[in-house]
């Protein structure tokens, strides 16, 4: 059993990898990568065996946060130190958004928001029908939930009763141009998923024990799909990025990179 403390430390190491990648590329989406990394670290550590032929899958529907996924693939030895320096470079496997035909371990090609939950449904149906007992995790952003296709999929997942499908919403409260609640108010996401027929709960997406406990409950739930609304902080872990919409899409240059490194070092990484 992985301890919350160990995962917390691992998430900090992953944060440093995210910051390094985006610094080297001088482009990327640091805010949403840093908000989702605790959740992703926990999912991979508890239920994704990247060496297995049949395994649980992770659809990063908010594909712009892919540096977080690359950081995890680096941790598990899929990506080398050198390759981590190639984010968004020509001919790199590390495209600006997940691309399975270049890097199959990202599990789904995403980037256009709103499509991942449906992709997860297809995977979950295939697993259910072939007796594959693994799960499918779909990671959405809260801004992404403006997309209508998400709600088509939410209805379908519940209609089919897909208990091997878990949707985690990284609710960091900021989308590209401002507060999600002001751009287009999602209102109560837990209530919305519940109304669509899901089992849903809300947690603190940076409290590793809460994340682990919620994932356990989600996996144990056998009556249909499960939604975890993870309340997070955009840019979490780098003080000047936290809750700062400017770091939705941004490079991390010069002094700001040094500051970020110093801040993450203080936090124990």
């Amino acid at each position: 059993m992985v301890s919350a403390d160990a995962l917390k430390k691992q998430a900090q190491i992953n944060r440093r990898a995210i910051v390094d990648m985006i610094h080297t590329a001088n482009a990327g989406h640091p805010g949403g990568s840093l908000s989702v990394i605790d959740i992703l670290t926990a999912i991979y550590a508890t239920d994704v065996d990247l060496t297995a032929e049949k395994r649980s899958k992770v659809v990063l529907s908010k594909g712009h946060a892919v540096p977080a996924q690359y950081a995890i693939l680096h941790h598990y030895g899929i990506l080398s130190d050198d390759e981590m320096k190639t984010l968004r470079r020509m001919d790199s496997r590390l495209q600006g958004h997940p691309c399975t035909h270049r890097l199959p371990q990202v599990d789904a090609t995403t980037g256009l928001l709103g499509q991942g939950l449906s992709i997860g449904i297809g995977m979950a149906i295939a697993k259910r029908d072939t007796g594959d007992p693994h799960n499918v995790y779909v990671i959405c952003g809260d801004g992404e939930l403006h997309e209508g296709q998400i709600w088509e999929a939410a209805g379908q997942a519940a209609h089919y009763g897909l208990s091997n499908l878990i949707c985690v919403v990284d609710q960091n409260g900021l989308s590209s141009s401002g507060k999600t609640s002001e751009v287009m108010n999602n209102r109560d996401l837990q209530a919305k998923f519940t109304a669509f027929g899901w089992q849903a709960e809300a947690i603190d997406g940076h409290d590793m024990q809460q994340v682990l406990d919620a994932l356990s409950r989600a996996r144990a739930w056998k009556e249909g799909p499960y939604a975890i609304i993870a309340n997070t902080v955009k840019g979490k872990g780098v003080s000047y990025m936290e809750n700062n919409v400017a770091y939705h899409s941004s490079g991390i240059a010069g002094d700001l990179y040094d500051q970020a490194v110093r801040y993450l070092s203080k936090e124990g990484c």
Binding site: A108, I121, G122, M123, A126, D129, T130, Q149
Partner: protein
Amino acid sequence: MAYSTVSLRDYVGKTLNKLYDPRMYVLDGDLSGATRSEHFRKEHPDHFIECGISETSAVSIATGLAMEGMIPFYVNFALFCTGSAWTQVRMACYAQANIKLLSTHPGMDNFPDGASHHVNEHIALLRVVPNMRIFVPQSPEELEQAVAQALAIQGPCYIRVSRDVVPVLEENLSAGQPFGGAKPIREEGGDFAIVYEGTALMAAQEGFDLLRGEGLRGKLIQVQTLKPFPDGALFDLVKDVKKIVTVENHTVLGGLGGAVSEMLAAHPSHPPLSRVGVHDEFTQSGPTAQVKARYGLDGKHVAEAAKA
């Protein structure tokens, strides 16, 4: 000349049943009766997924199934397989996902429903997406061959079949050659070449017969694969005729006529081309023959174009 006729949609579910593979799934958008995928639903209810009226999500669900090694067929009206879910189809193509789109009601085939449902843009919409393949069969036998090919190909494919009736040609029944590319149906002379896609067979055939009745002798050429486009083979068939006419149940922009224009433009000299189809306008409701005649798709338009 009188022909017996067939609507290929009647063979959609039956063909999928005949070629059933345990990896196959059929996804529907609440139109299984109209597309005839209901025949598949009856035989394989566990591999039939009713997605409701949610075209975008249906295509992405198909992508997810494909990522797990399944072979999903999304069967719907041509508009709902293409324009309604274009960005989802595009992402599936980018992912090189092994999804199959099988559409009925192309072009003006959904005649009484009017311009909202006449999808005269769908070939153009999918021709421009990398990795996509587009097949247009014109007979039940060709439909079976096209589905078999789609099953054998690892990657996205689009098969479009008529909802309106098309003539049953003797050539169809005795074809005995692999489906694909450009196929000469008749080769009687060099006065003209009518180049058509399968759902426009009725107009192409009628045009050919009218011209023949006037003493002209030409070629009737079916393009079975709209993508990849059979540039070389088609050019060899048409390069020496006096006039080329493309015939399509589609706008003349960006579809078959567009593809033939692009092909011809690569050559220093070639016969003149006229494109028969819808000329950049929205259509209206009406009886099939009247709608198609009004918007340019009948034998008379084809014959006039060949002589122009």
